[in-house]
Symmetry: C2
Subunit: 342 residues, 2 copies
Amino acid sequence: MRRPTIADIARRAGVSKGAVSYALNDRPGVSPHTRQRILAIAEEIGWRPNSAARALSGAAANAIGLAIHRPARILGIEPFFMELVSGMEAVLSAAGSALMLQVVADAETELALYRRWWAERRIDGAIVTDLRAEDPRVGLLEQLALPAVIVGGPTGVGSLPHVWADDAVTVTETVGYLVALGHKRIGRVAGLPDLLHTRHRDAAFRAAGTTYAVDTSLVISTDYTGDEGAHATRAMLSTAARPTAIIYDNDIMAVAGLSVAHEMGLVVPRDLSIVGWDDSPLCQVVRPPLTAMTRDIPAYGARAAELLLDVIAGTTGKALGVEVSHSRLTPRGSTAPPSLSG
Amino acid sequence: MRRPTIADIARRAGVSKGAVSYALNDRPGVSPHTRQRILAIAEEIGWRPNSAARALSGAAANAIGLAIHRPARILGIEPFFMELVSGMEAVLSAAGSALMLQVVADAETELALYRRWWAERRIDGAIVTDLRAEDPRVGLLEQLALPAVIVGGPTGVGSLPHVWADDAVTVTETVGYLVALGHKRIGRVAGLPDLLHTRHRDAAFRAAGTTYAVDTSLVISTDYTGDEGAHATRAMLSTAARPTAIIYDNDIMAVAGLSVAHEMGLVVPRDLSIVGWDDSPLCQVVRPPLTAMTRDIPAYGARAAELLLDVIAGTTGKALGVEVSHSRLTPRGSTAPPSLSG
DNA sequence: AAAGGGAACTTAACCGAGAAAGTTGCCATT
DNA sequence: AATGGCAACTTTCTCGGTTAAGTTCCCTTT
């Protein structure tokens, strides 16, 4: 089956290619009658514009790029990216834009990928996640003048537009809640230490310790896997002055921590309170259900996609930094006042 | 920053566009010396082929399409797709192909999407998952002659190449194992009933009951969410003759089932054995760790991507149906002989 | 020395759209 | 009746590559 072109339509309608192009693009220069006829023929033979030809004539690629630089084994388990992608998709597909997804093994590859996508005109813009300190991607994207939106911030984003949530508020609220319950020593099982948002959370966690005058010195960094989450939990619970509450940077580690507590003979929440970041169905499926820091990830992705489309369309206005609502604590059965014996 | 074109290279090198094209594509017609010079200039000014221009001249789009037709809330929690995608990515990015991902709301949209991708020449081929009975996508893809590989089968695939695993063997092995442990009544919490692989598993499950002379009549279909998994488990455990073992179609439902058992005062595995399909880290993070039917999902995706690339290149040979190794049972703490009181 | 052959190029057409510029033909003016 | 103006087209060029079909020029052969 050959793909129909405007030349085919022109031949059938007995007009020139140019007339067909005008008719199909709602531009003046063809009579309503001819336009109707051309549209009918286009519909009949199932014509769609060849995106390559359009792109060659300077049109948009109608695709945006997302490079994900995390090990495959984490991608599979962390709902975050899939939810982010599904939120982005909702906005993009409504705008007729596709999503080019590529999993990259390292930072070098990611940079090369942006260069290639840009040079090949494959994408109209990119969405950048997992911002690191002095992230080389920021400079590259600025230099290429490739429209880009960072999911994260608000620092380290250079001049790029970004969508961010104030994790510090969430951390402070959560620590405050645990302190109100009576906890005095709170641990934190953090994510990848070179991610900027991990550092923000670390800083907020330490600061909250000072604010509420409790011990928040116990922080262990991990790679987000359940394995490392379990290991970190074991380490924390094996210290002489063990914490009575632990905050985890994702829910899979929180669940792992729950199991470790159980394995060590501790009862949650009596002997240990557990809070997980990001509230997937997983949290409600384990016993006790996990208290979690909930946010609307699809909405987060949708907002980033919207902003990127705005940037591409040049209708950004001044909204370079868009703040979305921060994660809110959803208390469930895994948090309670510490037992007196602790 | 203007993107350099071969015309720029030609001007600098003092040769024609044609010569540059020959040089850059390793085709005869230019002297080694000139070729070197052209390549050096291309490198220097950072030239990359404009993919649109190439595509216009009949070249490949260097992208393959994947439409995912599942509700967003399931996507986030089911590791299957992300793992599949990461396996596909490994093969595709090595071949210089990108992945166009789109989440679609319904079957109609998915069909329209394939038509559009095909007409717009955006993709060289497609990967189809979640095959249904009399799936209209099969006919459409055959009609469009769009290279496509189905993840699933081996029935209902029409003339399309496919990559499949024999779920029936896995079901039979698992039921056999439970029977060997002494179970006489085994339940099954199935996935979406209109998916072909759910039907295959259903049929194999029923057949295994006959083979081993045990009761496998208890089957409840769900939408893969933990909620429905919990609900189905509650229903099964509330029947007069409740099963002593339940097999779940994904691990999130298995975990939900574990919680329900706990909530109903049953001890796993003493009072109830639990087996989950697909072995994500989640299974090892709960207590007791879940016995699971393990398969290498990234490898599954990689094999599908390889086959698609072969089909696109026209080097398929006769490998229209590629069987990958079926899931194998990984026994862990959630399965044991049933207690006599049951 | 003329002819043949092939390497090393150049020229120009082409892919399928978009868009500027050019061409009709008709109607209303004056 | 000549002119202007405009709608409704057609022609042609453009995007950035690929590629078939020339064109040179040099070297070998007889």
